[in-house]
Symmetry: C2
Subunit: 561 residues, 2 copies
């Protein structure tokens, strides 16, 4: 059913799927149920696309049998929603790994007393997106649902108070606004009496960096085990999670990781939270999938424990240590009631006194931005090539060597057909050569498990991390704009210099945090890519050495002929 709506505010489209709407413009809505705060419809210029539900009012027809008389109702009320957004042009890329979208584990979430879960999408182009799915009915695996990035941070702006002197961004959906950083920079987030958490930013050899965690640790993820409940009606996989500093294992399911992940997104502004490995529509318990999810959870965990800020998060500690069901629920509720999230998280940061020219920071960020874009592209390229190479290993390479092996066997069979002239030792050797090449074919097919899969795992982690940066960089840009605006207003006498100085000071916090996060990313990147390349080369060497050994053993069979 098509509905009419009126635009309450002007909205400028920023992405391909979005359309711009003007204040007071009349719109057609294709479905009144919003998806993550977005509606799909057509504007007065005939453009079709999505726009924020909160920017419009739906005009209800008078003939409504509903007794209430209100003709205008707020749009975007959550509920079952069967519409979908067509996947953007960025899904038309050549990366061929099938990715379906559905709510993992939602059927057995109820025992955790929590009706919402989060769907994590790994976009083929590394533009990961995270969004709430409300009892999602997206059961068609062919329908790709593209959530808006970082929608889940939206509620963190609830604490912002109106009436600041400096203008607010009209676009309530920019990461700057959603994350609460705008509110923070404008001083709208009140300093709290007692802040238990505190994260230091220090000056290191390459600029600002996160203060090291007082208690660094690592954490293993092992032994994915199929579990059942309700007398075998429901099955799930449990992982043994063992932090190095306690050495006491806890058992966690993917949905626990998922809960933690959403807490992280909720809380940590300015930090690139590693994406969880993607969900899978079918064959959840297939061996390969379980193995792949385990490998990627390990990488995720490594990144978590390596991060000086994320690793110290109380909710993470709870995740890693709590072994008791009742305690788990208590700790879960406590984490969900954490006030130091979003804008308030910014209050927990302690920055150096070091003077930094804002212009310099801006340039440094721009350089990083260009780097991140190119890295994202080349990670994408390598992912594509490596995926194709996996396909070739499993298909073409295996097939070619097996066909060669078959052909040798066939030659040896022919040679056995004229017994008086049949040279058994030679026939054996040729037949063995055939089997050797069949083996080599199998070795090619097996090899990705030892090298390419690990490369793809790491690339996938980096696709996720890189996809967070455009929004994070946007925070700094927004903050910088506020500094300039407030300074201008102060110069014009429209604002106290104190207030303008406050904006500048808080903008420094954003800048230092971003630099620390960039620095951390580079440090990890260097280690991770060195490891990745080394591991790949080592496995490749082992592989080709094994091929050589197989061939040498086979060649020896001809020596005595």
């Amino acid at each position: 059913m098509s509905l009419k709506a009126k635009a309450l505010y002007t909205f400028q489209s920023e992405n391909k799927d979005e359309i711009s709407i003007q204040e007071n413009e009349e719109l057609v809505i294709f479905d009144e149920n919003s998806i993550d705060g977005w509606l799909q419809g057509e504007n007065s210029r005939g453009e079709r696309g999505i726009f924020p539900a909160s920017y419009v009012e739906i005009i209800r027809p008078r003939s409504n049998s509903n007794l209430t008389d209100c003709s205008i109702s707020p749009a975007g009320s959550p509920g079952n929603d069967s519409s979908y957004f067509p996947s953007g042009s960025n899904t038309s890329g050549s990366f061929n790994m099938q990715q379906s979208y559905y709510d993992d584990d939602d059927d057995d979430w109820d025992d955790w007393d929590d009706s919402s879960t989060v769907v994590e999408d790994e976009d083929p182009h590394g533009r990961g997106a995270n969004g709430h799915a409300h009892q999602s009915s997206f059961n068609n695996p062919n329908v790709h649902y593209r959530a808006k990035p970082h929608m889940e941070r939206q509620d963190s702006i609830s604490s912002s108070r109106k009436g600041s002197m400096v203008g607010r961004n009209l676009n309530r959906f920019s990461s700057f606004v959603r994350s609460g950083v705008e509110a923070f920079v404008l001083g709208d987030v009140p300093m709290m009496a007692k802040i238990a958490e505190s994260y230091n930013i220090e000056m290191g050899p390459k600029g600002a960096q996160w203060g090291l965690s007082p208690q660094p640790f690592s954490c293993s993820i092992e032994d994915p085990t199929k579990q059942t409940k309700f007398k075998g009606i429901k099955t799930y996989i449990s992982y043994r999670v063992t932090p190095s500093h306690t050495a006491r294992p806890v058992y966690r399911r993917y949905k626990h990781f998922d809960w933690l992940y959403n807490r992280l997104l909720h809380k940590f502004t300015v930090i690139s939270v590693p994406h969880l490995p993607e969900k899978q529509a079918t064959g959840r318990f297939e061996e390969d999938f379980i193995e792949k999810r385990k490998r990627r959870l390990i990488l995720w965990m490594d990144h978590m424990t390596s991060h000086p800020v994320l690793s110290q998060y109380e909710g993470f500690e709870h995740f890693l240590m709590c072994a008791d069901d009742k305690q788990w629920k208590l700790g879960k509720r406590r984490a969900e009631k954490d006030e130091m999230v979003g804008a308030h998280f910014m209050l927990t940061l302690k920055i150096p006194n070091e003077h930094q020219d804002l212009q310099d920071v801006e340039e440094r960020v721009d350089t990083f931005k260009a780097f991140a874009k190119k890295m994202d592209d080349s990670v994408m390229q390598l992912t594509h090539v490596a995926s194709e190479l996996v396909r070739k290993h499993l298909g073409g390479f295996r097939k070619e060597f097996q066909r060669l092996g078959n052909a040798f066997q066939s030659i040896s069979q022919a040679f056995m057909l004229d017994p008086p002239y049949s040279a058994d030792a030679l026939n054996n050797a040729i037949s063995h050569t055939g089997r050797t090449y069949e083996n080599i074919g199998e070795m090619f097919a097996e090899q990705p498990k030892f090298d390419l899969f690990h490369m793809l795992d790491k690339l996938s982690l980096y696709q996720g991390l890189l996809s967070n940066f455009p929004d994070i960089i946007h925070l700094q840009k927004g903050a910088f704009a506020k500094v300039k605006e407030s300074q201008r207003m102060s110069d014009e006498g429209k604002m106290d210099q104190d207030e303008a100085d406050g904006v500048r000071k808080r903008c420094r916090t954003v800048g230092f945090a971003l630099q620390a996060e960039m620095n951390h990313f580079h440090q990890r990147r260097e280690v991770d890519f060195k490891d990745m390349m080394q591991a790949y080369l080592q496995q490749q060497i082992v592989f080709y050495q094994r091929v050589v050994q197989q061939l040498e053993r086979t060649l020896h069979m001809y020596d005595s002929l």
Copy 2:
């Protein structure tokens, strides 16, 4: 112009392209010029196809302006002929090597005072065929001309006299008849006063075998050199041919090989003469083609010198030793006037006195026949697989590794974009890894030169050798039938027992010769395939070792990071 013709004899079609004709049947001829003794036309049942020119008389219209009054002229006179026979169904196979058909060197053959040259076809299915091409005008490389097998041996039956008591095969085109073996078995080939040549067949550990050559030798073929004549208008390739027993090089062109090859076909009944490497329609002087032809001529020569009978042939000696132009022409004419060809060649064979049961020989031949069929199939299969593997090496394998190399380079380029955090040593190592994989891609593309090409060369030789055997086996079958027929006639008193004994005795010669040739084939096959497999494995080992070395060198770059 369509002509009418009358069938002189009944002819039963044996192959797909042939049609049967009945004695006295009226036929339509599409072109009065025969190709290798075959005409194309339509019989009274509307079937279209080819039949032997010598079986029909062309009916010339009375209105012929020609003064001679003969309305019937013998068909099949040689001349320019622009018709073609459609290639048989056996060309629809999957073997994909482009083979075009044209008369190699025919434009510069004239200096040898010989207007005929021989076109050698290597049929994709190993069913090689050889036929005279008379100043062929088959210039369309897309038209495949399928010559009838062993047509060139046809003239060897000229000495057969009519009137033997035992019936002759009606099919003048069976290899049994064409080769002269029928005439020989029936005693129609008169013993000659003085036979200079003599080839022994001995009993060896595995049955009858050719007596060893008194002077075994080998012969190198080296240094293909582009030569020009007529002030550079014509170019050709000259090979340095050096027999081991003289150690004096002679220089030969492909057409000299071709001349020799045709003498061999002409003379040697019951022997599988190795086919010459195929001709090529375009790019005759391209480096790869010259290299390939040289490799295959070397294999051809090895087979020639290894054969106890072929290696002793006077015409071969002339080919290997004559360095003088005038002497060359004399020796050439002498070889062409050799009387001990075809049927007469059978007279040069000395067989053991050993008793052999004809039935046993028959069974032995049948076993060989089944073996040869299976070997032909599996050689074909391996040829196909190896050709495809060459294609993959040049294409898919190279491409995949080069794309991987490019992707690594791209990663390293991205890492250089944020200088303060750029780790030069790591970037260098990654970039070098990229170049390594590009090299490995090139190595894959180069590798067929070192292994698969040599395998394909040898397989091609064996395709040729195997394709000769059905006809050779047919000789023995025909001879055996004659023995049974003559014995029956003798039993019925219609033939002297002496004459029947003569048929049986001469059939023994055919049987021994075939067994000797089978034995020789097996001996060579064993050596050749052992060598082929060893060489392939050795080269494969070297290749994968080089890959390992490249990777190890590259891996070391990460050690110091």
